[in-house]
């Protein structure tokens, strides 16, 4: 009860002072809002890009065909060479001898079955193949070039060129957004810090008297901490609403795909909720950091 009385008194104070310094409070709130909207956009982009590239990494492997009529020994030498390449996941290279390819194809198609059944090891015109998974799809092209150099290899095939070219661009966007958002968060913390500094100065007399009559430092600091909290939380309302409505709306209108059918969007639930929690969390932390800084610097108690 005692705690409740102290809290309600201080929340009330904090609320009033948001309105007393309205212009600076608004500036803090707007700055938080802008920052959080950008954070939200960045998170949506990053999560979707990650989701998409992870899909790519699972699917995109290099298909290698040996020349016609290679022996199993020759295949094995080539396999060793391929596995030695740095970007290749050596232990996961899948080898299919021409015999295996023949059997697999016969299982798939009954038309071909009758023809292929008659082939012997000597007359089998098929080629042995490797399915080569890579560690980093960004270097896929180089890896393919390296494989081509290996003896007895006829054909090297890998995923869509345009898609792999997108990946490094996404990377740059990700890094740039981290820098911009970091800078914005710092600006926001400073603005909130300044807003609270004004409140502290405006209430200097009151603070002096509180200290004089034996109010604990924690209680003296409380209203300023709440004020920072208010500013941070107030700044996260619009971004959260925009994220939830905006993403669900976009997802529905685009039928879950972005630009083309290759880029599949992350389903809105529970993603938007986590994103909103993150925004609220950042708002709270930014508000607390701003008030903490102010209280440390200007409230010498």
């Amino acid at each position: 009860m005692k705690l409740f009385r102290i809290l309600s008194r201080n929340i009330n104070h904090a609320f009033k002072s948001v309105f007393r310094n309205l212009s600076l409070s608004l500036a803090s709130i707007v700055c938080t809002t802008i920052t959080l909207i950008l954070v939200s956009i960045a998170v949506i982009l990053t999560v979707n890009v990650n989701n998409f590239t992870k899909g790519l990494e699972e699917e995109l492997t290099i298909l290698v065909l040996m020349q016609k009529g290679t022996t199993e020994e020759q295949d094995m030498i080539a396999k060793d060479e391929i596995s030695k390449i740095g970007n290749v996941v050596g232990e996961n290279v899948v080898y299919k001898s021409k015999e295996q390819v023949r059997i697999e194809t016969m299982q798939k198609s009954s038309d071909l079955k009758s023809i292929m059944e008659t082939w012997t090891d000597e007359t089998n015109p098929l080629k042995s193949e490797f399915i080569v998974p890579v560690k980093d799809i960004r270097d896929m092209k180089d890896t393919a070039e390296q494989i081509k150099e290996i003896e007895n290899i006829e054909l090297v095939n890998y995923g869509e060129d345009t898609v792999t070219k997108l990946v490094p661009i996404f990377d740059v966007i990700k890094k740039a957004s981290i820098v911009i958002i970091g800078a914005l968060i710092i600006v926001t913390v400073f603005l909130i810090c300044n807003t609270i500094k004004l409140t502290i100065f405006a209430r200097k007399n009151e603070i002096d008297i509180m200290r004089l009559v034996g109010v604990s430092n924690t209680v003296i600091r409380l209203p300023f901490v709440f004020e920072g909290l208010f500013l941070g939380i107030a700044g996260s309302i619009i971004p959260i609403a925009a994220t939830i409505y905006g993403y669900i709306l976009a997802y529905d209108n685009l039928n879950g795909f972005f630009v083309s059918n290759i880029i599949k969007l992350v389903p809105p639930l529970p993603f938007v909720l986590y994103n909103s929690l993150l925004l609220l969390g950042i708002g709270v932390i930014v508000g607390m950091l701003g008030s903490y800084r102010s209280v440390r610097r200007y409230l010498k108690i």
């Binding site: 009385r5 004089l212 009559v213 034996g214 604990s216």
Partner: protein, 237 residues
Amino acid sequence: MKFIDIEHCYKIYKNGVTALADLTLKIDKGEFVFVIGTTGSGKSTLIKLLYREEKPTKGVVNVGGINVSKLRNGNVYKLRKKLGIVFQDFKLLPKLTVYENVAFGLENQGIKSKDIKPKVLLALERVGLKEKIRSFPNQLSGGEQQRVCIARAIVDEPKLLICDEPTGNLDPATSKEVMKVIDSINKNMGTTIIMATHDREIVNTMKKRVITIENGVLTHDEKKGKYIVDEVVQDSK
């Protein structure tokens, strides 16, 4: 150990000024003590040591069993809750009524309104301002404002009331009124009073213990003292 126990205290400010030197002073519960001395002699510094606005550079300050000189910043409020402080400038909050000003500390400590009310009314009665509870400070005379400060200081019935020139801004007649209030608090509540003052008239008529500080050194400590500063010091010898 006495109620107030100051042992060999030194206060040297950061700028090198020695405000107090080797000061030893013991005060019993319920005493009424004047602290006098020329301006800059160290009276306010002594007072500040008592409520831990300043820490002694050397020596020990004990107030009511609390080792004030060792008190950490975060714990100062525990000491201040137990004493009342009154200054020359009243330090009232202009936007709060008399009642709210007196209740200010208790409210910030989270005490229930219904427990605060009788305390505030009693304190205001003790300083003779029960009729003015709804007034704002700027609607009161200087003497009345100072009495509000005294009410605020005694509202939680402290064992010690510290005053730094409480009559410094008041005319002689009003000063007398305020002193009557402080004296009655000492007599009726048994509150220990320490009061720094320049007011010769008050010190001479009240016949209390008088401590004289000169250049930071305690030079006189008399049971029923007189105002003996400057020329008076020479006369008495």
